[in-house]
Assembly symmetry: C2
Homo-oligomer: 216 residues x 2
DNA sequence: CCCATTTCTGACCATATAGTCAAATTCACG
DNA sequence: CGTGAATTTGACTATATGGTCAGAAATGGG
């Protein structure tokens, strides 16, 4: 059965199991939605008996909640890059790059997030009202300052942020459609570079930042 | 089986019932997803007994399929405005306006569409491969021509289209998030005007079209 | 009014699924 | 080892849900 080559500790083992379940759950929730997902499917994908899931996560909703919260953390971490640059060009370019990377390597998470919000955010409404609202207001003020300083065109900061979210997340949430329009094949490395460059080109030009010949 | 010029009253009634069911179904599918939606809920919202739904639509999937196809038709009709203008500025502005209007007045449809695509388009995969692919390629060529003629910046037409879709549909699919960030209130008339103007401003500037006449 | 056709509906069934539980197994540690 | 705690799991239950159906009710032409 289990090879005695490596003996993980109890806590280690527990964390590994939970991570395994969460990974499977994220995929199934993304593919089938909360209502369409079944604990049995998640269990199969995680390679565990269903009853075992209920040992780690008492209910389907608790499992789902954990998945959504994890995604929110990733989202927040990516948002940090917005602050690590000191000008609009670098900040927004870095933010686009970060979010496009998430869309590429974490599409299931983005889909679960989209689904949650589309259904009225029953689980993370409080996050929207607190953390997300604060982050958005803070960033809107930063953008407003850049505008005052004449470092970018006057645009509504909110709608600029919405456009950034919409565009970058589209590559995850609608990856199936994009793949179909790409002849049924996933975007290649260079196509992803094109995507990132295109998004940055249009948005940066759109807010009046002359992109002096940058690459991906 | 042959119905020689049946009574119009009866047909009318049938159409009214079907429309009523489809409207309720669209809302429930949008709010709960396919898996989370129940025929009972749809029936209640339509004000009809559940068994009556199955008289008009044999299965839940058939009902869902009809809802998705209707949305696709609306989508296609809006896409027409792309061709009724003769230059990139007018065409893209009109397209943005049309799609924003749909997002505003038909958010449930947009959500069902998004959900369908996110889950791998099990129902409308053939539409993606035929109609949508053809439309996209045609429009990409039109954009390419505009670029050749020097009427707009050189951008990847595909990614421009994706950005248009993503941004406009975001106002429908994520309307709950936007509402939350707007202090819990839906966007007012003037806020919708701002949204449309902002999207047009950034994208048109982003592709190198100096927007002389602003306003919504 | 009569009859054929269409429409409606309550009651019912088969199935799927979230969640439970107690017994079995494994683990940590002295 | 021995022991108690943590974990695993097959079998089970309760319930929700999609779909069926037979018969009632309405509809409309002759």
């Amino acid at each position: 059965m289990n090879l005695p080559a490596k003996r993980p500790g109890q806590k280690e083992r527990r964390r590994e199991r939970e991570a395994r379940i969460l990974k499977a759950a994220e995929k199934v929730f993304a593919e089938a939605g909360f209502g369409g997902a079944t604990m049995q499917l998640i269990a199969d994908m995680a390679g565990l008996p269903k009853a075992n899931l209920h040992y780690y996560f008492p209910t389907k909703e608790a499992l789902y909640r954990q998945v959504v919260q994890n995604i929110f953390q990733i989202w927040l971490r990516a948002a940090d890059v917005f602050d690590s640059a000191d000008g609009p060009a670098e900040a927004i370019a870095a933010y686009i790059d970060a979010k496009m990377e998430i869309s590429r390597h974490h599409p299931a998470g983005s889909k679960v997030w989209a689904s949650e919000v589309m259904h009225g955010a029953p689980v993370i409404q409080d996050y929207l009202e607190t953390t997300l609202t604060e982050w958005t207001e803070g960033r809107a003020q930063v953008i407003e300052r850049w505008i005052e300083e004449g470092r970018m065109n006057r645009v509504d900061p909110r709608h600029l942020l919405y456009m950034l979210w919409a565009t970058t997340q589209h590559y995850a949430d609608f990856n199936h459609q994009i793949e179909t329009l790409n002849g049924g094949k996933p975007l290649s490395d260079s196509q992803w570079d094109d995507a990132k460059a295109s998004v940055k080109q249009i948005i940066l030009a759109g807010i009046g930042i002359s992109d002096a010949g940058k690459g991906g």
